[in-house]
Amino acid sequence: MKVRHLVWLRRITQILFLCFFLYLLIVSRLSQDIYLNYSLALSTDQDLRLEQPATFFFQLDPLVGISSLLSGQTLIKGFLWGAGIVVLSMLLGRVFCGFLCPLGTLHHAVGTTKPALKGSRMVQANQKTSCQRLKYFLLIFMLAGALLGLNMAGLLDPIALLFRSIALAVLPGFGTALRAVFDALAASDFKMLSMLSYAGEVLVSPVFGYTHQAYQTGWFIGLIFLVILFLNRIRPRFWCRILCPLGALLGIFSRFSVLKLEKYPENCTHCNLCTKHCQGAASPKPDEDWETAECLMCFNCYNACPEDALAFKFKWSFKLNRQPDIGKRALLGGLLAGVAIPFMGRLDGQIDKISDPRLIRPPGSLPEESFLELCQRCGLCMKVCPTNVINPTLAEAGMAGFWTPHLIMTQGYCEYTCTLCSSVCPTGAIREMGVKEKINQPVKIGSAYIDRGRCLPWSGNAPCIVCQEVCPTSPKAIYVRNDMVTAPAGKKLKVQLPYVDLQKCIGCGICENKCPVRGLPAIRTIAAGESRSLRNQILL
């Protein structure tokens, strides 16, 4: 195989994996045309599930597997894929970064299509610097933190970061813009334009969502994504070289790689083309020592060299490659920070004292401490939720739980017969369960209470009881009593007054979502009473 072919093989693999990633991301939703065989309905319970392996890239990502193993002492589903990537890195170096990683591919594309630096400045930018130790610091920091019970790997893990950015910021952003166009078209009096808008909506909604998707801190997630992409103008693949903890992890394993960059200094004319095209700042130049741990296996240097001074070759002799330049400071600093962070994260008392009442976790979530050990903050549960109720937290879960999922009932509600989020969680922070289990146990995520000052019948303003109507349990957790109340003009008004039966309430929040009092509804849901927490119980 010629070198040129190797580079093209890399490009094609990169594109294929990026497309596969985007495909899996887009199909992480309930499609419009889901059919169930209702003749089976009386005999069986068919749970709605995704047909595609939505968590594939998370299984492929060894950082997800290792951090969950360290913190939660559990092997995630499909961890063998991640183990395979580790073995692959031990044989071939960071090929995951060069060939498979969708975020790496994006950076590669952004950095190469319009390079910011030219000529010798690019050569200068591609020299290895001590900045590149930062990623080892981050890796050690996260793994040490994970070992002590706070898994923050997902904040910087490239797969989780890319999924979160695209699912919670990029797609909803474009979706909102498109929907604005279609709504404007639909409002027009020209039949042609309205038809066009319907057709357009049918075409785009499977990708951008069937309703207006909104996520708390979505703008911030999007901003960070843009900044990370922009960093490629300072140095090509800035993220992969300097920040990516997964890259650091694979770099450490690449020490054993048998695919090595062979150098022939006698052929070298010091043209610097290899360094100019190097994506990882891995010192490919023949008179320098090849930094295996920094090399992204893009084969650019091999391809660029006009003098046959470089070649990637398999060498089966047992000789370790150059050791990764971690640096004492990164190691010690990472360990210190990693030891400190799980305890700093508990300073706000969210875990040990009393948790925020708004911290309503998706149904099936593990108890808070175990949840934080496993949650990758990837946003997959938020993407699949059909009502858009699951949102990233801002302060609700404290510092330790930033961007973990929680339910905002004014945005959506938890569907009584839906357990989709539990079926897609890559690490099992939301444990998988069926609808039967959710209903029969029942799995409570919180409880509702009535704000009588706002409630229309309680305040004597009007009959209402929408909350009682929409309450999904049987018998209903919201019941009504007939009573006379005093209306504003002093008249007596006969109304039905709603009450909550805490024994039956599961905290699904549909009452809060459908309450006619907007913004701060007259019936609201709090986390108290959630079945995952012993301490948060209300009733004896």
């Binding site: 045309d33 009096d189 109507e469 006619p516």
Partner: protein, 315 residues
């Protein structure tokens, strides 16, 4: 039509001419034939009601639906060749059919097949659901029906809700689910079930699922808004599904213990009469139910069954 936009002088004159012309024409014809009693002579005079009851233990629901329509004179009496027909079931809640929270999918399938046999150009299933619509389509069996029959499932997207003038007592301008007003024929296909606020939800209340906007406000005067909507959406025919009825914990239900088998279908072109008959399935007197009483008062129909041509088919 956009009612928010100011109307120009020319348009208003055109409209006035058109309306006055129509009025003169209908006035003269009415005078000539001397038969128009009210704005809705069709239902008032030619009102009929067919009850289909499955009495044997293993009767076929589809067959019962067909027989019921045959007794009313056949589907071709209502659906003409080339019509765009919209079937409005009640599939508001993502519940399995046996919970009786939604229209029986077998009945729905039979009705759609009948329409297709009558030569309907297109049959559409449209409902603005309360639960997430994709889950409603899947769990209630409506999706399966659409797949089996080739009917279109209309997804209630925001651009399909358009503000219209309802000219009701309580509701003036409200967003309406467009396919229902653009259809040539509309078949109202509700399920009979208990409702905590309006006592029962039957045919007329089914129109709450045909509008958009902040529907939870409608609860503040539920009976009047039901009647307002029923006078706006005047269906070709109403078929109330009483195969399984939900007798308590409505309208959402969620347990088979709330469900009673009644094996009854009620077909009528009089929305009030159909609801009144369905109320009897729950042992309720029609006049005790607010929207039925108001419906008769506002001339939508009658719950005096003597005024109707009544038939009964059994299987």
């Amino acid at each position: 039509m956009n009612f928010e936009k100011a109307i120009t002088r020319r348009e208003s004159i055109k409209k006035l001419l058109r309306v006055s012309g129509c009025l003169t024409f209908s006035g003269t014809t009415a005078f000539a034939t001397n038969s128009a009693e009210s704005g809705r002579p069709a239902t008032a005079n030619n009102g009929f009601m067919v009850e289909g009851v499955g009495e044997t233990s293993d009767y076929d629901v589809k067959e019962l639906t067909r027989k019921t329509f045959e007794a009313a004179g056949g589907i071709s009496k209502f659906i003409s060749k080339g019509d765009v027909v919209v079937v409005k079931p009640n599939i508001s809640w993502a519940r399995r059919p046996e919970m009786a929270a939604s229209t029986n999918p077998t009945v729905m399938e039979a009705v759609i097949e009948l329409c297709q046999e009558a030569g309907a150009r297109k049959v559409r299933i449209a409902d603005n659901t309360i639960h997430d619509v994709r889950r409603c389509f899947a769990l209630t069996g409506a999706g399966m029906v659409a797949k089996n029959t080739g009917a279109d499932l209309i997804y209630p997207r925001s651009s399909l809700m358009r503000r219209m003038k309802l000219q009701g007592n309580r509701l003036d301008i409200w967003p309406v689910f467009v396919p229902l007003v653009e259809a040539d024929k509309v078949i109202n296909l509700p399920v009979a079930k208990h409702h905590s606020l309006s006592v029962l939800t039957l045919g007329m209340k089914n129109w709450i699922g045909a509008v958009g906007g902040r529907r939870n406000k409608l609860h503040q005067d539920i009976h009047m808004t039901i009647v307002d909507l029923a006078q706006f959406f005047n269906p070709t025919v109403t078929l109330i599904d009483g195969i399984r009825i939900m007798t308590r914990n409505g309208p959402s239900g969620g347990s088979t213990s709330d469900v009673v088998q009644k094996n009854t279908l009620i077909l009528s072109n009089d929305p009030v009469a159909a609801d009144a008959r369905a109320a009897r399935l729950f042992d309720r007197k029609p006049e005790q139910i607010g929207f039925i009483k108001l419906g008769q008062k506002w001339g939508l129909g009658t719950y005096d069954f003597q005024k109707l041509v009544r038939k009964k088919v059994t299987l």
